[in-house]
Symmetry: C2
Subunit: 337 residues, 2 copies
């Protein structure tokens, strides 16, 4: 089905005027040793994929492409999957790498276990975004969890992940998972107050379909949907590239979440600048000390036949993730508690 | 002087057969919006610099070039400086980025203060490599230090840094610094046993002039040159890319250093995979607990009119640097203590 879509959809190169609003321009590196892909809307030519965006001007990370496995245009974004020569299969949305098989463990394990290991016995968990299923795979390791809702806006991301990333989309196999295709903002508004123990916002960058997920009204809906002392973890960009965005997110969260407000970060080589951050906040209620995990998870916890042991996360790296370089600490401490 | 050198030296593109042994191939990204640089040995054409190497196959990080400021070929390597559009000035050796003005703080501060803050009152410090002077700048913050020797093999790196990176090469202005131009391996052999409190090995990658600095005989010379309970910190590659190299380094160090042997890492966006690691070892003698700095430094310590406060390092990030992702911890723990 997915393969078919790719050929049916209009194939185009982004127009100049689109470059500012999309985080999506795919360029090429002239290498001379690989075939030119004809007619490619994302212009992966000459064998390399390059990630160029106004979100990180003046720099680009490139991966060598073995084969393009899927290209399509959903109602929301451009979707591409390619086999890279050294990072396994790669999922690209609007020209921006979302995951590679080689380093996805860092992101998925940290965005999930930082919140879930910080509260005792999480039972009801909501994932916003995260259509690839990797966060679901990680949530499912927690045996205390009884209900895992996921609200992903783009069905094509789910379908493509199930087809090309079985080790990631394995998260959907867990019987506790209920998938809702739709807008996360609208979904949250309909959630009865105090429903969830934890909400994980696994979004793309704040230009494109995920924009609202970085704004204050969204954080307010999140806070409402959490039980007292419940926790949220949201993707929160790079300390090297986006301190101005982070500063705003921290200020918004500080106003919205009456428990604690913290920033953590980790290494993901295929994300711009090689790092990605997370906002971790709790609502008023039982205090949450994010820096000292109260609900540790072992590498082998909740393993099924189809999931592997944890590759990246452990309790030490949990605590370490909250230690910030001085330049970031200064800005964040001035906005947070 | 340095500018003059560039035009006198033979300008060439690396030959195909050199690609395996050098970590130096500079490619181009076809952007179409920048002028072509004529006659460039490092083929920075069409406005972007790309870092491609057999040390990190299948991926490349690229920076947009505003202007090439220097190109030369020393007796040891190709040397280039360019003005990038978003990372300030960039120093490139053999096609590999050594530092950018925007993120050099992370590397220089961590490689220096991880060892120096781990022992009380360091007095005699040796830097091997580090010709740009950034490590000297950081060592000079420590008021206990009486003698700072540096042994850099390539005078062109020193000259170019003084000319183009005054905020880095400011390290040379400290009156405690004595510069030795020469081979670090030979220099160390001539050092009387037990001379130094700390040795910092700020090397490039282990293909090219720095190769010997990753081998066991070199570590043995380092151990001899240190006083009992003295410490060494060496550049030790990326956990994402070079676990096989790291495994060997850890095994060598474990055999050579009878105190403690540890691996730490930090984020540097313009290094491949976005991280760089350090081996931190101590010789037999007073025990050293690297993870808990005994000699903390404040952001404003040892400030002169020409140096800025610390931007990256603090005591929290010192300890956090030793917390490893599970996949790396497993390999390193099996080789270290």
């Amino acid at each position: 089905m997915a393969e078919q879509l790719a050929t049916e959809l209009p194939i185009k190169r982004p127009r100049e005027e689109e470059l500012g609003k999309n985080s999506a321009v795919i360029s090429s590196i002239e290498m001379g040793d690989a075939e030119q892909i004809p007619n490619g809307f994302s212009s992966v030519i000459s064998g390399w994929f390059s990630e160029i965006s106004p979100m990180w001007p003046g720099e680009a990370h490139s991966l060598k492409v073995e084969k393009i496995l899927f290209r399509g245009k959903s109602d929301f974004q451009d979707v591409m999957v390619f086999q890279s020569s050294t990072y396994g299969k790669v999922l690209v949305l609007d020209g921006v790498i979302q995951l590679t098989e080689r380093d996805e463990c860092a992101y998925q394990e940290m965005i999930t276990h930082l919140p879930l290991c910080s509260i005792p016995s999480p039972k009801k968990v909501l994932v916003i975004g995260g259509g690839d299923g990797g966060v679901l795979r990680e949530v499912a390791r927690h045996s205390s969890v009884e209900q895992i809702d996921i609200c992903e806006i783009d069905k094509m991301v789910v379908d493509v992940s199930k087809q090309f990333f079985p080790d990631v989309a394995v998260g959907y196999d867990d019987p506790r998972v209920v998938l809702h295709i739709g807008d996360g903002v609208a979904f949250l508004k309909a959630v009865p107050e105090g429903t969830y123990d934890a909400i994980i916002v696994d979004s793309s960058d704040p230009i494109g379909p995920a924009q609202e997920l970085f704004e204050k009204p969204f954080f307010e809906s999140v806070a409402k949907a959490l039980r007292p002392g419940g926790v949220v973890c949201t993707q929160a960009e790079s300390i090297w590239l986006h301190m101005h965005i982070i500063e705003d997110i921290v200020a918004n969260c500080r106003q919205t979440f009456k428990g604690s407000v913290n920033y953590a970060w980790t290494t993901v080589p295929t994300y711009p600048s090689g790092v990605i951050g997370f906002m971790l906040c709790s609502t008023e209620g039982p205090p949450v000390d994010f820096k000292h995990p109260t609900n540790p998870i072992d590498a082998d916890d909740g393993l099924s036949k189809t999931t592997q042991p944890l590759k990246f996360y452990n309790s030490e790296i949990h605590s370490a993730a909250f230690c910030l370089p001085s330049f970031a600490k200064k800005v964040i401490d001035s906005k947070a508690n």
